[in-house]
């Protein structure tokens, strides 16, 4: 029997506000435990929440970017469950009304576009953090409430994904959109972007969905994909043995690469949602939506398509360019100064990314300006420097932010186009490498390459390579 995998994802992204959702405590990451708290986010008796406007705006922005319908009326609800990291033992979230609903996101898989529908986008508060001590036999856990109350965006997809490639693309695309709209920093290692998956199997061609299994504790995109592969196999095997799949929640065990039942449907939580009486409803009018729309930049997929069409760049190159908004912006700013799309695309998609990876640079902190990159390209075209030297200059530029002219000047890297000077160097090289000359005359073309290299080395790479080639050839032929 052939089965089709049906996957839906629930995404939580911490919003990039400087304060928490309902109080003025800072949201800074990595601060000493329990020092970024106040009576409100500790859920002390008598305190009340007041909504952070920016968090609401960010959530609205994300919902619009995900093509959601925005109802005029929205409200917040309490979701009740007991957990020591949840200060009030209810989470302020949305249930009866969502900020956004019925949206979609287009994803690219193997050159094809598929549309994944978004069930809803809503705003809620983050919980604190539980720490389980390492010591053997410890009978306690510890709680840090610094994260408690950080604004959290929840994005719930429909079960529209059919394989891990689509799941991966969904996660990547969503992350890019959240980064482009600047609503979240999406740092998975800091927990500011998290995924939960639900998966079911059904007979190929069948419309009816199988029993859904939810998987939690997925710490990276990789674990999402691994857990789904594991779960697909587990369910396939199970169905193959004629068993039925229970509707349940399973926990992914990263170390042992398997999942285990956390709770069954019968033990499902009874969240007792009801309207949060301490907050008032929010009415979102058209003007507000229009204002938010203004702040949404061109999103990655649209940008990619435009780059391919307008600049005739390859699929591969454009995906690298739009991977990060700063890169795409840099590219476009360069083009405005000097109309060389392919050249700039190469510099950014190849050289810049290589330097960033090798030197582990923060792509958002690069000091290099579009004007400088354009100047560099101009210097090559004018023959002021060779393209080899240009690479050296470039790696200095992205470290220091200095102008290429200044670097070339200071390091005396200007290309040598003086025929007399080059001729003299060539003469010197020829006389000190008689065996290479002989090899060349015997027909070994490699020897010429060697000799050119020697000349370049002697001139510290500054000699005009084209000129070296021509002069050398003339001399020894």
């Amino acid at each position: 029997m052939e089965y089709e995998v049906v996957v839906g994802l629930e995404t939580h992204a911490e919003l990039a506000t400087v304060t928490k959702l309902f109080c003025g405590c800072s949201t800074k990451f990595g601060i000493e435990p329990n020092t970024q708290v106040c009576p409100v986010c500790l859920g002390m008796p008598g305190v009340l929440p007041v909504m952070n406007k920016k968090a609401f705006d960010y959530a609205l922005k994300a919902a619009i970017a995900l093509n959601c319908k925005i109802d005029e009326f929205t409200n917040f609800d309490r979701k009740s469950y007991y957990y020591p990291d949840l200060p009030k033992n209810y989470q302020i979230s949305q249930n009866y009304y969502n900020l956004g609903a019925d949206g979609y996101m287009d994803i690219h898989v193997n050159g094809l576009v598929s549309r994944i529908r978004i069930h809803n986008v809503h705003l809620e508060e983050e919980a604190g953090k539980l720490i389980h001590p390492e010591e053997v036999g410890a009978d306690y856990s510890l709680v840090d409430f610094n994260r408690a109350g950080v604004p959290l965006l929840e994005i719930v997809s429909y079960p529209d994904m059919r394989n891990v490639d689509e799941v991966e693309s969904y996660m990547q695309t969503l992350k890019k959109i959240l980064l482009y709209t600047e609503v979240s920093d999406c740092k998975m290692q800091e927990g500011s972007l998290r995924f939960e998956a639900s998966i079911s199997l059904r007979k190929k061609g069948s419309e009816k969905l199988g029993n859904r299994v939810e998987i939690k504790n997925l710490n990276s995109m990789k674990s999402v994909l691994r857990a789904l592969e594991y779960e697909t196999k587990r369910q396939t095997d199970s169905l193959g043995r004629g068993e039925t799949i229970d509707r349940e929640t399973r926990l992914w065990d990263e170390v042992n690469e398997k999942s285990a039942r956390m709770r069954s449907k019968e033990e499902a939580q009874d969240y007792r949602y009801f309207p949060e009486p301490d907050l008032l409803p929010v009415l979102v009018d058209r003007k507000w939506i229009a204002e938010i729309k203004e702040t949404i930049p061109e999103l990655p997929l649209a940008k990619k398509q435009r780059f391919m069409e307008v600049f005739k760049l390859s699929d591969y190159d454009t995906s690298l360019l739009v991977e990060e908004k700063v890169l795409a912006d840099l590219f476009e700013d360069c083009i405005k100064i000097l109309d060389r799309p392919k050249v700039f695309c190469n510099w950014i998609a190849n050289d810049l990314l290589r330097e960033v990876n090798e030197k582990k640079l923060d792509i958002h902190q690069l000091p290099v300006r579009p004007k400088q990159l354009a100047a560099l390209v101009e210097m090559i075209e004018k023959g002021t420097i060779s393209s080899t030297i240009a690479k050296e200059v470039f790696s200095e530029m992205i470290l220091t932010g200095n102008d290429p002219q200044v670097i070339v000047e200071e390091k005396k890297l200007t290309q040598i186009n003086d025929e007399g000077f080059i001729g003299a160097v060539i003469a010197k090289i020829i006389s000190s490498n008689p065996s290479a000359i002989e090899d060349y005359k015997k027909g070994k073309k490699n020897a010429l390459v060697f000799l050119v290299g020697q000349v370049m080395k002697e001139t510290k790479g500054k000699a005009n390579p084209k000129m070296v080639n021509e002069l050398l050839q003339k001399k020894i032929d």
């Binding site: 003025g24 708290v37 106040c38 909504m51 306690y140």
Partner: protein
């Protein structure tokens, strides 16, 4: 709708309240009294009535995203039943 002992047990669990057998019996009676009184609401047809969850008619109340000082660790832990260093300490939580 009559509340039975198992309903009381279910709700007691939701409420994280431990009840003795005698308390369960008492609560079965008392809650049934109250709920049968509440039944009177069913005499009203409310199909077209909008629910009211707030006594005032105001919307869109926000604060600005501006950092305010948090409280001292001393105040944070002032009332804590159990702490360990900077943390609150609770019995072991198993996922």
């Amino acid at each position: 709708m009559k509340i039975k002992k198992k309903d009381i047990e279910y709700v007691a669990n939701l409420s994280r309240i431990e009840l003795s057998e005698i308390e369960k019996e008492t609560f079965v009676h008392q809650l049934n009294d109250i709920l049968s009184y509440i039944e009177k609401l069913n005499r009203l047809n409310t199909e077209t009535v909008k629910p009211m969850s707030c006594a005032i008619d105001v919307t869109n109340i926000f604060r600005e995203d501006i950092v305010e000082p948090s409280i001292s660790l001393e105040d944070t832990q002032l009332n804590a039943p159990a702490i360990k260093g900077v943390f609150f300490k609770v019995p072991k939580v198993i996922e």
